[in-house]
């Protein structure tokens, strides 16, 4: 099975908490930070909100009215001829990096650049404003088609395992036939164990494994890995984490095992994030 990395995006999100009174200053400062400090190429911002849209340029930031600020939920910087992968939402900053037109090293490099922006944002806009409650989340969702039935078998195999040995919860049969087994204590099947070992999960720490409708979900703190059944020929793999290193380790492991296809094209003059 090969995963189509070149068709996916990686999402870097930072969630944070602020109160209503703080909102006004926060938005104005954020707009100023985006235009003046983050990158000189950013000249305009798109402001979206509750049934509201406005496009502003740098000198007009101070003209944003209170009424407008109450309605803004989303800020997107605009750069000419480049779709800037940066969206600021009410409670979250999101950066999306596409794997298209990059080779693997360039992809990882872009990810690191995105992580640096996230850290800059946290340092300059959140920490300094004594907003302590924030956390990061990185996410990638891959899709893969089968040429080797191994994994599919692993997933299907759950159906044929002796009753009472596995922690199985949910409709076993996908075709709406109800065949429910309640929670039982278990060890995962051998092939899944192999897989987990390969995927570098540390067995000594608490690892939760659960199965639901052909899905396998493995959780360790805030690191989460889900194999999900997409359709008859495809299995999806989603990774969630709050640590960039864990994330990159896993991607590198998949890459080294030649699990990505088509191979990422090496582009010499690819445009990187225009950040620094």
């Amino acid at each position: 099975m090969k995963y189509e990395l070149s068709k996916t995006k990686i999402y870097f999100r930072t969630y944070f908490v602020y109160n209503e009174e703080f909102k006004k200053n926060f938005f104005i400062n954020l707009c100023k930070w985006l235009i003046n400090e983050l990158n000189p190429e950013i000249k305009e911002l798109n402001l979206n909100g509750q049934r509201f849209f406005k496009n502003i340029t740098s000198p007009k930031i101070n003209e944003i009215s209170d009424n407008d600020i109450n309605r803004i939920d989303k800020i997107t910087p605009v750069i000419e001829n480049f779709s800037f992968p940066f969206i600021f939402r009410k409670d979250c900053l999101e950066i999306r990096i596409s794997a298209r037109d990059k080779n693997f090293d360039q992809f990882i490099e872009s990810n690191k650049a995105a992580d640096i922006i996230i850290n800059r944002f946290v340092d300059e806009n959140i920490k300094s404003k004594t907003l302590t409650d924030y956390w990061k989340k990185y996410e990638i969702n891959l899709r893969g088609a089968f040429d080797n039935p191994l994994l599919r078998d692993t997933v299907r195999a759950i159906n044929y395992l002796p009753y009472g040995e596995y922690e199985v919860e949910g409709n076993i049969n996908a075709n709406n036939k109800k065949n429910t087994i309640s929670k039982k204590k278990i060890t995962p099947p051998e092939k899944v164990q192999d897989l987990i070992k390969q995927l570098n999960f540390n067995e000594n720490t608490d690892t939760e494994i659960s199965f639901l409708n052909y899905n396998i979900k493995i959780k360790q703190n805030y690191n989460l890995l889900i194999f999900r059944n997409i359709n008859k020929n495809q299995i999806g793999l989603s990774l969630y984490s709050d640590q960039i290193n864990w994330f990159h380790d896993l991607l590198t492991l998949l890459y080294n095992n030649k699990l990505f296809e088509p191979p990422l094209i090496k582009i010499n003059n690819y445009k990187t994030l225009p950040l620094f």
Binding site: F53, R96, N141, L142, E169, N171, T180, S210, N213, N231
Partner: protein, 461 residues
């Protein structure tokens, strides 16, 4: 106390609220506060008063439960039903009662869910929830606040209402990083789903004689038109949206989804000469019994209004009954049946061909958000069920969404930039669904279902 009692207490309070809201609206002489939904206006005119919406949300939740019962494992479902079913229905009755506090204050209208929850604990304004015990009150309060808030805000706002000794109880329901328990998450989905189906105009159009119309004003000569693609006095056309028109004439026999026939459209193309009347429009002189009411509701930078939202119609089906419906209409659904074996629900969205820009904005913000939050199963978030949804976008039998897309893209309006932005964000959503959320957007073309490839359409333009 029995669980049924919780529902009946909340129902009584909801009826009390319904009476009060009608009196308050009269007092403020404001039958059209902007944040109120069109369906409410229509309901407020009938004998049901405001309980129309409340009845509907409760009914919709019951319908959704039937659909989701097939998806959720039986044991888990029974467990949920024991702990959360009555609380969800109770919350559905009283989720809006806080509007009494915000009726004259449109800026704070979004806080009404918070006020609804606080009524549970302070018994103000004649409401009485004394005989509900605190555990159930906390559950109902959480759901009331959730109906228009994220889980994070729900947690923080509920905390401000509660006494400190109940914080522990609250933490049981919403854990680390504001993640709710599976059961609470499902109840929250039900209540916001039910509420969404209302203001998206579900079944609403059946009560309406004609579609909503958006009016445009020529900047030069101030003539009002019902379309902005006409030529006018000046060669350089500058039209400005000025209002949303609707004929408040209940007629249950006419199917609202039926497109206007050509004759009707011709009538609408004529300029509205009686502009004076429009300008001097005063809600006090136009009671809902009057046939036509033109309401000026759009502000600067405002993309669409609640009235525009009702231009689209949203319904949820389970896949089997939807297949049956397609078979009845002789539509070929082979493509879905062949590729996907795990689809369980269908969201059918009907857009209004006459107001494509408003429909696009609604789709881009409200509908995509709704799908992400409520219909999709988020494996990372909740283990309760797995759901793959088909988003069936319907315009009419002869026009497909893809062909309309070009029309929207080349649409010259005051919102060119906004439309570009909306399309980018919609493409992102479609891409994300394709990889992650398992939403499959499809359309109807020549009596055959087709998967929408937004990327391809975008490249063609």
């Amino acid at each position: 106390m029995s669980h049924n009692n919780i529902v009946s207490i909340c129902k009584q309070n909801a009826y009390l609220y319904s009476k009060k809201i009608c009196n308050t609206l009269e007092k403020y002489n404001n039958i059209f506060p902007e944040f109120f939904d069109w369906s409410d206006h229509i309901a407020a005119d009938s004998n049901d008063k405001y309980t129309y919406h409340l009845n509907k949300i409760v009914n919709d939740i019951e319908k959704l439960i039937v659909i989701f019962k097939k998806i959720i494992p039986e044991v888990t479902f029974e467990d949920w039903k024991k702990k959360w079913y009555y609380q969800t229905i109770a919350a559905a009755w009283i989720h809006d009662i806080g509007l009494l506090n915000t009726i004259s204050d449109a800026d704070n209208a979004h806080k009404h869910s918070y006020y609804s929850a606080s009524y549970l604990f302070n018994n103000k304004d004649g409401f009485n929830f004394d005989s509900i015990d605190t555990n159930n009150k906390i559950k109902i309060a959480l759901l009331c606040i959730k109906h228009n808030n994220s889980w994070k805000d729900t947690y923080l706002k509920t905390k401000t209402i509660l006494n400190e000794k109940f914080y522990k109880k609250l933490d049981e329901y919403i854990g680390n990083r504001y993640k709710p328990t599976n059961e609470l998450h499902f109840s929250g989905q039900l209540i916001s789903m039910g509420d969404c189906m209302r203001y998206r105009g579900c079944s609403l159009k059946n009560n309406l004689k004609k579609n909503f119309r958006i009016y445009y004003k020529c900047d030069k000569c101030s003539t009002i038109y019902s379309s902005n693609s006409k030529s006018c006095c000046s060669k350089k056309l500058e039209f400005k949206k000025v209002g949303v028109f609707h004929s408040f004439n209940n007629n249950n026999n006419i199917n609202g989804l039926k497109q206007l026939n050509n004759k009707d459209i011709d009538i609408y193309k004529k300029p509205v000469t009686d502009y004076q009347k429009l300008e001097q429009f005063n809600p006090n002189n136009h009671s809902l019994q009057n046939k036509d009411a033109v309401v000026l509701v759009r502000e600067d930078n405002q993309l669409y209004t609640r009235g525009d939202i009702s231009l689209s119609n949203l319904e949820v089906y389970d896949i089997e009954s939807w297949y049956k419906e397609l078979e009845k209409n002789m539509i070929d659904y082979e493509i879905i049946d062949n590729i996907y074996d795990n689809n369980k629900t269908v969201v059918q969205l009907t857009l209004d061909i006459n107001n494509l820009d408003a429909a696009l904005f609604t789709l881009q913000t409200y509908i995509t958000e709704y799908l992400d939050e409520n219909i999709c199963s988020d494996q990372e978030f909740s283990d309760l069920y797995e759901n793959k949804t088909i988003l069936y976008i319907l315009i009419n039998k002869d026009v497909s969404f893809s062909s309309c897309f070009k029309k929207i893209y080349t649409y010259k309006s005051n919102y060119g930039m906004a439309i570009k932005d909306a399309i980018t964000s919609l493409t992102d959503n479609f891409e994300n669904w394709n990889n992650n959320k398992n939403v499959l957007p499809i359309e109807l073309e020549a009596n055959k279902l087709k998967i929408i490839n937004l990327e391809k359409i975008k490249n063609e333009i």
